[in-house]
Structure formats: structure tokens, C-alpha cells
């Protein structure tokens, strides 16, 4: 077994365990920290796939951005320290059945499908090709995403502004 395989399985175990924690933790902060390990380990998987830029982007955006915002939101809204935010009991039976069905279908897909395999994935450094791709093939989506972000910014700033009173 090559070291890559060992590392991959370690990461996979971390991802699955922490995802389970994130799903089933009743304390929302614990769930958020479960998510933290999922996202971090996913970054590790990207490293194994030789997508180093993507891996760091994953850390910067998901861990440094989204997760911190999530935690910050929890800390801001949960004013009283005595009672932690606890999510209610789920109606478990339907969820379990649905989850199992979807899982079975996805498993079937994964084993049934003929996945194409790329042959020359040996990229040495992905930054420069990514830059070229962003400004050539994906120029339009890249520029268009700035409009997306502008809309999000505008909407968010409108929603958080104190209500206007007449």
C-alpha cells in the first residue's frame, strides 16, 4: 500500500466521522466544529489529488470564511451562555428511510457508472493553468460571478440595515 493510499484512508475516516458528528450533534457549536474537521480533511484530499491551489482555497474559503462566519453568527445570536442552542429531535424514521434509499441509489450509480479516467493528471503546480483557464475558457463565468457577489452584497446590506421608520 502506497503512503498516498494510507493517507487517503486516514482522511476518509476523518471526513466521515466528523460529518457524522456534524449531522447528529445536538449542540450546534459541536456540529460546526464537526464541519470544521470535514472541510479541513477535504482540503487534504485535494492535496492528494495534486490540486494544491484548490486545497488552500478550500481552507481559506470554507474554514477561514464560511465556518468562522457560522461560528460568529452562533456566538452573536446565542446571548445566554446557560442554555446552548440545541436542535430539536428529528422525526427520524422517514429521514432514515429516505437517506437509505438515496444512499443506495448513489452507491448503485458509483458502481454502475463507467467513470472516465484522465490520463495526464500529473500537473506540476496548478496556479498558472488555473489563471489561464479563468481568463480564457471561464472568462465569462469569472466576470459574471462579480455580479453575483455584487447582488449578494447589496441584498445583505439592505437586509441588515436597521428598518426605516416613518
Amino acid at each position: 500500500m502506497s503512503p498516498q493510499t494510507v493517507i487517503f484512508y486516514c482522511l476518509a475516516v476523518i471526513i466521515i466521522l466528523s460529518a457524522v458528528i456534524a449531522t447528529f450533534a445536538r449542540n450546534i457549536v459541536n456540529a460546526a466544529y464537526g464541519l470544521f474537521f470535514t472541510l479541513l480533511a477535504l482540503g487534504g484530499v485535494y492535496v492528494l489529488l495534486r490540486a494544491d491551489f484548490l486545497a488552500v482555497t478550500q481552507i481559506v474559503i470554507y474554514v477561514g470564511g464560511i465556518l468562522v462566519l457560522l461560528l460568529f453568527g452562533i456566538l452573536l445570536t446565542n446571548r445566554r451562555l446557560e442554555d446552548l442552542i440545541i436542535s430539536g429531535q428529528r422525526s427520524s424514521l422517514l429521514g432514515v428511510v429516505m437517506g437509505c434509499v438515496i444512499f443506495a441509489v448513489l452507491l448503485a450509480i458509483i458502481f454502475y457508472a463507467r467513470w472516465p479516467q484522465s490520463e495526464n493528471a500529473q500537473l506540476e503546480g496548478t496556479t498558472a493553468p488555473l489563471g489561464y483557464l479563468l481568463l480564457q475558457n471561464f472568462l465569462l463565468p469569472f466576470e459574471f460571478s462579480s455580479i453575483t457577489l455584487l447582488a449578494a452584497l447589496l441584498g445583505a446590506s439592505y437586509l441588515v440595515r436597521p428598518s426605516e421608520r416613518d
Binding site: 472516465p116 493553468p129 483557464l133 480564457q136 471561464f138 463565468p141 459574471f144
Partner: protein, 554 residues
């Protein structure tokens, strides 16, 4: 690293094909800038700026309509390395979206729900959503599609909750966000599977997958339909619609029910066009399909979706007392009627959907305009408060009656023509098919549903005509602008029943039929057209596809 790309068409020339969207982007920035300099009481004037931007964009879209005339839907003329298509199908929908946004802005300027609010953001967000819809109609790449879908959704969430102090609006916005996030997440999962299977995000990749991995393709499509179904408010993904329609400001409700829905239909039609027009690979395709049998076919999924959507919409609409909720369920039902065309999945059926969408555009905007005007004076959305409206304003009520009859789909209105075209397309496909009752049954169910819808639409007419006016309508009257507006909505409905040929021709050209009339060609037009044709002649039909030009950067 690679050398600079040797573009077949210069980037600037490519950009001329998305000038409507660029104009909207400029308008967004101008609106935001104007909002900065206007006090709150005057910020509604941003609406006129936005309208001007839309006008310029629409002018250019009309101009491009002639440039791109004659390109088939699913054809190869794609810009920006295969991200968007420049064909009349896209231009058709762009025109509709721009018109829809224009009507929405006019309604917003007249709506009492939005007065005294700061409205710079409102118009900027509306323009952003419109721009995104334009890209949704023209995108021919999954990434672009998803980005456009999200850019359409994000402003919609905010616009639905624009009246922040209102609890209902907040509820509407939150529900919309939750449903939107889940459905777009599911869709993204489907996209990721598709990408893994095809190694490409191009729409053409779908066809390739369908031949190799048919069952996987079907599962992927179910995931994708979740995303589109959310925008189209098709049945299992429709739960947001009634609450959002009720809580959002009425012009936004109209916008969501028309433009947003049309964008969903446009995107899924373009997505499925290459799949449905597969002829050369049919043997493989049939073999693959044989493995799972008829019941897992994509058309069967649409059959179920259509039946579920229209039945649920119509039967739930029966119990509604709030006009906005009623129209929400009615719009769900109409989505169901339009989904029948995907069961027939041929060119006629797609034309019928486009035809129906135009009529739906007029009917729904007309009804929501009426709702806005009445709410401005009465402050109520209850149908019972419309009692005796006929005695206050017979002209307007006649107009509304025409719109309602058209929504039912009875002659002498355009709604009848639309439904006729839809159902005929399905029946004809049934006649060609080996299992005709699969198609006939769908039409029968749709007809039965139309009969059910008769009950609640006529109920509104009954309320307006056969009762004494209530106290809320004591001093009620429409002003001249409002009467004129209602006439403008009702007149085409009648006119299109008398002669729908011009509209048919318009739709045919939208589907890519060649230009028929002689049209003034301005030098720039010829230049663009020549560039397109020359590129296609020298480099084959895939002229704008990076994979065939050999300058792929990796």
C-alpha cells in the same frame, strides 16, 4: 505556458452578442450610484433609470434578434469558449425577460406596498435578477447555468422579503432561501455527477452520457430537475410558491411567477434540446433504454411531474381565499400544463411552450397588475373584498374577466390557442408513438384539470359581478392610467385569438427558423453575421468550441 489564445472571433466581437446583459450591468451600477445621491423620498426615481437601462438593452436585443436569426436551438454557435449561445432562442427569452422586468418596474412605481421605502437596491436587484435570467436562457455550459441560476435566486430572496418590517415578508424570504438552497444543492450534486461522468460541463456532454451511462444519466437528470423544478415551481418543489407569492410585494410576485419561471423553462429546454434531438445515436440509445424499460425514461419522469404539478396546483387552488395565494397555485398549475410539452419532446412541443409562455406572460402580469391596483385602494388581498367590483368599474372588470377566461383556456381568448397548441403537440407525438395512450392520458388529465380550474377562476368573476359592492369598495375607482394598463393587457389576449399567426412566426423564429421578411441590415449586423458564418465555414460547426481550436491551455 501556452501562447496568447488565437481567437477565432475577437473577444470584442463576441462581446457584442451579450450587449443586452452588459447594458444591464451598467444600469445596475448607475442605479446604485443614483441611489447614493437621492434622498429616501425621491429614491423611487431610480426606477426610471432602471427602465431606461432596460430600454437600451431591449433595443439591442431586438437588433441582435436579426443578427442571430436562423440559428437552430442547440446549434453550435457558442461564444466565450462555449459558455453561452448566440441564437434566436436566447434572444427570444431575453426580450421576454427585459419586457417582464420593464412591466415589473412600472408596477413597482405604482404600488402602494413600496412607497416611502428606499428603493435603489430594489431596482438594482431586479436588474441583477433580469441579467441572470438572460444568461440562464443563453448559457450552454453547466457552470454558467448554475451561476446564472444562483444570481437569479439571490436577488429574488431579498426582493421577496423587501418589506422588512412585515413578518409575512420575512417568512416568505426565509422559506424561499431554505427551499432554494436545498434545491440548488441537490442540483449541484447532480451537476457534479454529470461532470464526473462526462469530464466536461458542456450541454453536449449530456448526450454523450445518455448513450453510455443511461441509468446514471436518469438519476442525474432527476437531481437537475430539482433545481429547475424549484424555479418553475413544479410539483414536489413548489412548496415555497404560495407563501412567497403572498409575502412578497405584488410586483415581485408577478416577476417571480413570470420571469423567474420562464428562465427555468428556457434553461431546461436548452439543456434537453440536444438530448431530445438525438437521431444519429438512436440505436445505442434505445439499447441503453431497453435495459431499464419504459418506466425509467426521462419522458416518464416529465409525465409524472406534469400530472402531479397541474393536479396539485388546481385542486389546492380551489380552497384559496387570498388572491395572491390563488394565483400562486394557478401558476403552479400552468407550469404543469407547460411540462406536458416535455413529454412530447419534439420541436412543435417546444414551440408550443414558447407560445404559451408569451400568453402566460400577458395573463399573469395583467392579473397581478389588477391585484396591485385594487390593493392600492383597499389594502386587501382577499377575494371577498372584490365583491361588486363590476359596479365600480365595468371596463376593468371586463378586462379582468378576459384574463381569467384566458387563464382557464376557453375561447375566445389566447389562452385557448396556447393550450390547443400544447395539447395538439402531445397528441401528435402520441399518434407517432408505439404507446399512444401514454400521451393521450396526459392530455385527458390536463383537460380534466382545466375543468377543475374553471371553478375557481369563475368564482372570482362571480364575486366581482353578482354581489353588491362591499364597504371597502365604497369610494373605489380606477384612474385612467390603470384602466389603460388593464386594456393593454386584455386587448392582445383577444387579438391573439383572432390572429395568432404573427406570434407563431415570432416563436418559429425563436426556435431558429430562418428569417422570412426582408429586414434592414445595418453594416455592423452584416459584419457580425459574416464573422459568425466565416468562422463556421473555416472551422466547422464547432467554431467557438475551444476543444476544436487546439489552444486549450492545459
Amino acid at each position: 505556458m501556452t501562447a496568447a489564445p488565437q481567437s477565432i472571433m475577437p473577444l470584442l466581437t463576441q462581446m457584442t452578442f451579450i450587449v443586452p446583459e452588459l447594458m444591464l450591468a451598467v444600469a445596475i451600477v448607475v442605479v446604485i450610484a443614483c441611489d447614493m445621491f437621492l434622498p429616501r423620498e425621491k429614491s423611487w426615481q431610480c426606477g426610471w433609470v432602471a427602465l431606461a437601462g432596460l430600454g437600451i438593452a431591449a433595443m439591442d436585443a431586438v437588433y441582435l434578434w436579426n443578427v442571430t436569426s436562423g440559428r437552430m436551438l442547440g446549434g453550435p454557435a457558442r461564444l466565450f469558449w462555449g459558455m453561452v449561445s448566440a441564437d434566436n432562442f436566447a434572444m427570444f427569452f431575453k426580450l421576454m425577460f427585459l419586457a417582464g422586468a420593464g412591466v415589473t418596474i412600472l408596477l413597482s412605481l405604482r404600488s402602494a406596498e413600496l412607497t416611502r421605502m428606499r428603493s435603489g437596491e430594489y431596482y438594482a436587484l431586479l436588474l441583477t435578477a433580469t441579467m441572470a435570467s438572460c444568461f440562464m436562457a443563453s448559457s450552454s455550459n453547466m457552470l454558467m447555468l448554475y451561476l446564472a441560476l444562483e444570481t437569479l435566486s439571490l436577488p429574488s430572496y431579498v426582493l421577496a422579503g423587501y418589506r422588512k418590517s412585515d413578518r409575512q415578508a420575512a417568512e416568505a424570504s426565509l422559506k424561499y432561501i431554505l427551499f432554494g438552497a436545498v434545491s440548488s444543492g441537490v442540483m449541484l450534486y447532480g451537476l457534479s455527477l454529470l461532470y464526473g461522468l462526462a469530464g466536461s460541463l458542456d450541454y453536449a456532454a449530456i448526450t454523450r452520457i445518455a448513450t453510455v451511462n443511461y441509468p446514471v444519466f436518469i438519476v442525474t437528470m432527476i437531481f437537475l430537475i430539482a433545481g429547475f423544478g424549484f424555479k418553475m415551481s413544479a410539483a414536489p418543489f413548489h412548496f415555497w410558491a404560495p407563501d412567497v407569492y403572498e409575502g412578497a410585494p405584488t410586483p415581485i410576485t408577478a416577476y417571480l411567477s413570470v420571469v423567474s419561471k420562464m428562465a427555468g423553462f428556457a434553461a431546461i429546454m436548452r439543456l434537453l434540446a440536444p438530448y431530445f434531438s438525438m437521431t444519429t445515436i438512436a440505436p445505442y440509445f434505445d439499447a441503453a433504454r431497453g435495459m431499464l424499460g419504459r418506466q425509467f425514461d426521462l419522458t416518464s419522469i416529465f409525465w409524472l411531474l406534469a400530472v402531479l404539478t397541474m393536479t396539485l396546483g388546481n385542486f389546492t387552488a380551489l380552497r384559496q381565499t387570498n388572491i395572491k395565494r390563488l394565483l400562486a397555485y394557478s401558476s403552479i398549475a400552468h407550469a404543469g400544463y407547460m411540462l406536458t410539452a416535455f413529454v412530447a419532446h419534439n420541436k412543435d412541443a417546444f414551440s408550443a411552450v414558447m407560445f404559451y409562455l408569451i400568453i402566460y406572460f400577458i395573463m399573469n402580469f395583467g392579473m397581478f397588475a389588477a391585484v396591485t391596483f385594487i390593493y392600492n385602494r383597499t389594502g386587501s388581498f382577499q377575494i371577498s373584498d372584490w365583491r361588486g367590483l363590476f359596479y365600480r368599474s365595468p371596463i376593468v372588470v371586463v378586462c379582468m374577466g378576459i384574463l381569467l377566461v384566458s387563464l382557464i383556456g376557453l375561447p375566445p381568448t389566447a389562452g385557448f390557442v396556447g393550450k390547443w397548441k400544447l395539447f395538439v403537440a402531445v397528441v401528435e407525438e402520441g399518434q407517432r408513438s408505439a404507446s399512444p395512450w401514454f400521451f393521450y392520458s396526459l392530455v385527458l388529465i390536463a383537460l380534466a384539470n382545466s375543468v377543475v380550474s374553471l371553478y375557481y377562476y369563475v368564482g372570482i368573476i362571480k364575486q366581482m359581478c353578482f354581489y353588491e359592492p362591499g364597504e371597502k369598495l365604497a369610494n373605489f375607482r380606477f384612474n385612467t392610467t390603470q384602466k389603460l394598463a388593464m386594456l393593454c393587457f386584455a386587448a392582445p389576449i383577444i387579438a391573439l385569438q383572432i390572429n395568432w399567426q404573427p406570434l407563431s412566426r415570432f416563436v418559429e423564429r425563436g426556435m431558429g427558423a430562418a428569417r422570412q421578411a426582408v429586414i434592414m441590415i445595418i453594416p455592423m449586423t452584416t459584419h457580425q453575421n459574416q464573422t459568425l458564418r466565416a468562422a463556421e465555414k473555416t472551422h466547422g460547426p464547432q467554431a467557438f468550441d475551444i476543444r476544436h481550436t487546439g489552444d486549450h491551455p492545459c
